[in-house]
């Protein structure tokens, strides 16, 4: 075995170790999304607290992944495509950490909301939205491991559905608030949860972009599909960030 091959396979093993940590982190984040949305719908404060407490493990994994990536760069001095692979690990773990934070925030609001009037149907709609984001996350991590640009592209398109779910909820909350001022405070919180769930989708999209970049060497042309309905009906829509 030549020295070059030896170095290459040591790098591959290092990369596999880090990717396994990414998958572990992804699994924890998926669980956090589903449990946060469930705790919100069932007003399960114990489950909400559980989600909040488990976020620490997600944060620690991100730190470990970053340290491990730095260690591999220092040790193996990877070039070109290998370096790109290692740097993508830092970006993706950063995205996962943010999604975890949003799930934690959703869980925090479960406690705040449990003392307020229920807004008919909205927590069920939020849970559907969260479930869609969780599926997108699962698929985008699959696309990362398989280096499947088509699947990543598919995930990017599905983010559009999440944006539409968000726009529908935004209109709904305004209607509820106008109907009865007692709905204002709970709707403010629910609206944030909806917005944060939409942002989770943006972070999943950002992972999908990374995958496409890794596989094709180019960033997708229209990285974030626009779902800005401002020009159609500015009163009831939201500019995308």
């Amino acid at each position: 075995m030549s020295n070059d091959q030896h170095i290459a396979s040591a790098f591959d093993r290092d990369l596999e170790t880090i990717q396994a940590q990414i998958m572990k982190m992804g699994g924890l984040v998926e669980e956090a999304i589903l449990n946060a949305a469930k705790s919100l719908e069932t007003r399960d404060e114990e489950l909400a607290e559980d989600v909040r407490n488990r976020d620490r493990a997600i944060d620690l994994l991100e730190e470990q992944i970053n340290e491990e990536a730095a260690r591999v760069i220092a040790l193996r001095a990877p070039t070109a495509i290998d370096l790109r692979l290692i740097l993508s690990v830092i970006k993706i773990s950063g995205n996962l950490e943010r999604i975890g934070d949003y799930a934690k925030n959703m869980a925090k609001r479960t406690t705040v909301l449990s003392g307020m009037p229920q807004i008919s149907g909205s927590t069920a709609a939020l849970r559907r939205m969260a479930r869609e984001v969780e599926r997108m996350l699962r698929d985008v991590l699959d696309s990362y491991i398989q280096r499947d640009a088509d699947l990543a592209q598919d995930v990017m398109h599905r983010d559009h559905d999440v944006d539409q779910m968000y726009n529908a909820l935004f209109r709904e909350f305004i209607t509820f608030m106008m109907e009865d001022p007692r709905n204002i405070t709970p709707c403010m919180h629910l609206h944030f949860i909806a917005k944060n769930t939409e942002r989770m989708g943006d972070h999943v999209t950002s992972i999908a972009e990374q995958v496409i970049y890794l596989v094709t060497g180019e960033m997708p042309e229209d990285p974030r599909p626009k779902s800005d309905k401002t020009s159609v009906n500015p009163e009831y829509s939201e500019p995308k960030e």
Copy 2:
């Protein structure tokens, strides 16, 4: 001059080039924050459009910085502290890009809000909040260039003030919405601007953490000061993310 010194100083020059790009990016982001807040207060749609258009330059700088960082890692194979410096550049440019996105989003809402009833005093309060975040950003970038952990720590503490400004606005918006249903839609948008400005502060804090880590080798113990007033008055406060 020994070969080692030659390599070290080549790395230093590379690092300085990238840091100059970070400062340029920081300058554009500061300008975007101030102009977005100004366009909101003065209902200046032209200025708002200008902010939106200039965001592309910020995004491009982030891409350039990332590519340059990857190039330096591949070329110089830096170890330990040098590698940490280069990796921090990737994180910091990511934070700046997000802050720029929030400023762009604020500018977009200027256009949406200009057709709606004015909410007394709120855009002036938002501009004060934005100005404080801009000052924090300027100081944290100074602390980065000077490797000044004390200044970075000071910036982290000031984020607490921004959180308090946000909490005050949150209460104010709810009051306005309860007084008159016609205030609901504009207040929803203003509330988002306030939240996004608070998030800008979080990204500045995250840069401050990086600086402290670079200088001391350790992350600050309590990375994000808590300003969660939920336990005191859950109706009128907001869980931190």
